[in-house]
């Protein structure tokens, strides 16, 4: 038999799939992984990698700078402290979000791929959750990793690595907690805005405005109005909140003369504010996908 068919190409016909079907959880996982890869342009053309990868590199620069400084300085120096890191890269975070969030959710609306997702083994809210998780993870790459690099770098540069780790280990849960909270907040804001329109340009501008304009407006109100009341405006500005929650996580106080110092909220107020805002964003996102017609 074998020799007779050797060298002959023939159609083996249709094969039934008899293997396992992993259902909804696997579907959500697959969408999450696909979305996360898409954020960084993995599996896409070079041009879709440049933006997100470039911004990620910029977010790493302060950490690498601190690392280099610590390694050549004869004494322990900490020019860049963990509680100040997010403030330093907040504009990068906003731009990163404004670049990737519209691709993450707007693309499926623009190309109408959404109807294919909604007709597969997941529910509408699963789609929203997978996208949210993907963006939070992507934001963690540029918030958590630089912090960890700094921590390890400082430990290596210290006179004694283990002494440093023993003294400073309490920073690790703070690093993780602050990065998760801040990433959820930024991702939530970005996705809620980006999911409103298939038009990329609109959502990019909208997201930038949500971060940068609110920061300017809240800051201005705080400067000109009665501080006892106007300080609450700062709680509506993501940048101020990001800065404030870091203070709480790292048990630090704001530099004298800054708006945060003058507002005189306790750090925990920013952390709670951030958590509530992130939850609100997630609720709005789920609502959006419950209503959207694919």
């Amino acid at each position: 038999m074998a020799d007779r068919t050797a060298g002959t190409i023939y159609d083996v016909g249709y094969q039934r799939y008899e293997g396992v079907r992993l259902g909804r959880r696997h579907a959500i996982w697959a969408l999450y992984v696909h979305s996360l890869r898409g954020v960084f342009g993995i599996g896409r053309s070079l041009s879709s990698k440049v933006g997100p990868m470039g911004l990620a590199v910029i977010a790493f620069i302060p950490a690498v700078f601190q690392l280099g400084l610590a390694s050549i300085a004869p004494v322990e120096v900490e020019v860049i402290r963990p509680e100040g890191y997010y403030h330093m890269i907040e504009v990068v975070l906003a731009v990163f979000c404004a670049v990737v969030a519209p691709e993450l959710v707007g693309r499926d609306q623009r190309t109408q791929t959404l109807s294919l997702y909604f007709s597969r083994a997941l529910r509408r809210q699963d789609y929203a959750l997978a996208k949210f998780a993907a963006l939070v993870t992507a934001m963690l790459v540029i918030t958590l990793i630089p912090q960890v690099i700094m921590f390890i770098g400082n430990a290596l540069a210290a006179n004694n690595f283990f002494d440093y780790v023993r003294d400073e280990w309490a920073d690790l849960p703070s690093i993780l907690g602050s990065a998760v909270l801040l990433s959820s907040l930024v991702a939530g804001i970005g996705l809620v805005i980006a999911s409103q329109t298939p038009r990329r340009a609109y959502s990019t501008v909208g997201i930038l405005a949500a971060f940068i304009l609110t920061s300017i407006i809240a800051g201005t109100i705080f400067e000109v109005a009665d501080k006892d009341v106007a300080r609450f405006a700062l709680l509506l500005s993501p940048f101020h909140v990001v800065e404030g929650l870091a203070l709480w996580f790292f048990d630090a106080s704001a530099d004298p003369g800054t708006q945060l110092a003058e507002a005189d909220f306790r750090g925990v107020a920013y952390a709670i504010d951030a958590a509530l805002a992130a939850l609100l964003m997630l609720a709005l996102l789920l609502r959006r996908y419950r209503r959207i017609s694919p």
Binding site: G13, Y17, H26, A30, T111, T113, S119, A121
Partner: protein, 309 residues
């Protein structure tokens, strides 16, 4: 097993009723869904997929509740929408494999079946290229592939030949027919072209203004008619005259004579007449009803002859 069962399924929008108390029960097969634009075809398909929520009523596909057991059910359902639905910046291979995973297939199986499925739909070298440069025909193939890749038990195809040239249309219909018969997958095919439904389907449901007009096996609709069409090599009029002399109702239609067949003896009459006149018999066949005729007023031979006389 019942493929689809809907019970007073209704979908209303603010001003219009897209589907009104639809009750259908369908067995697996290749089912044609016909109706004018806006009759409710797409609405029905979207309701069966759980893409739309019904205003009232319920639907079951393969024994699973469409609205409560959606994810579980949709592991076994494939959907090819009428509109564009493909991202532009990924390859067909990557996209279809991803869609297979979102239908519940493990990664490895998804990749294997993607290669196989793209081969079945006839997409070869192009499958590693970004889809932005694809022709309409290639896009339609990918759309079909993503609906087939997870080996569904039911495929819902909404106007799958839209935008295709006649050749592409032919190929798509052949493929769909093959999926339904050879691959053994139940199909709901919506089309506004009756000829397509006639070619591919073995059951037909018709919707008009959101209501079910009919649900019948195709064999009933395209049953043989009692009209014979005869073509001869030579002067057809002589044969027509000869047949009329013998009391047979005849009318001519181009090169053909159409003869009302009352019983099988007529076949002998025609044969003998042809021989007597020394003509050559080229064709003698029983006519079949065509769907188009059915959706018009079903003209019979007599009715059509009347205005001529």
């Amino acid at each position: 097993m019942t493929l689809i069962r809907t019970t007073s399924l209704t979908k209303r929008y603010a001003k219009i009723t897209a589907l009104e108390a639809l009750d259908v029960e369908l067995e697996p097969g290749i089912i044609g869904l016909v109706g004018a634009n806006g009759a409710g075809k797409s609405t029905l398909i979207k309701l069966l997929l759980g893409l739309l929520e019904p205003t009232s009523g319920s639907g079951e596909v393969m024994g699973l509740d469409v609205f409560r057991q959606g994810p579980e059910l949709r592991q076994f359902v494939g959907y090819m929408p009428e509109h564009d639905c493909l991202p532009t910046d990924v390859s067909a291979t990557e996209f279809v494999a991803h869609m297979a995973q979102v239908s519940g297939l493990p990664r490895g199986a998804a990749r294997e079946r993607t290669a196989e499925t793209l081969r079945h739909v006839g997409l070869f070298e192009a499958r590693y290229r970004e889809m932005r440069g694809y022709s309409t025909g290639m896009k339609q193939r990918v759309k079909l592939a993503q609906a087939l890749v997870h080996d569904p038990r039911l495929m819902l195809l909404d106007e799958p030949t839209n935008g295709l040239d006649p050749e592409g249309r032919d190929e798509m219909l052949r493929l769909i027919r093959r999926i339904g018969t050879e691959f053994g997958i139940a199909i709901i095919l919506s089309s506004h072209l009756l000829s397509e439904i006639e070619r591919v389907c073995d059951h037909l449901i018709e919707i008009e203004d959101g209501r079910l007009v009919r649900s019948v096996p195709m064999t009933e609709l395209t049953a043989p008619t009692r009209v014979l069409s005869v073509e001869v090599d030579g002067d057809g009029d002589r044969l027509a005259d000869r047949l009329r002399e013998q009391g047979v109702a005849v009318r001519t239609s181009g090169r053909f004579l159409l003869v009302q067949k009352e019983d099988d003896a007529l076949l002998d009459v025609i044969r003998d007449s042809v021989v007597d006149l020394g003509l050559g018999l080229v064709r003698l066949e029983q006519g079949r009803r065509r769907l188009e005729e059915l959706f018009q007023s079903q003209p019979t031979l007599e009715e059509e002859e009347a205005p001529r006389g």
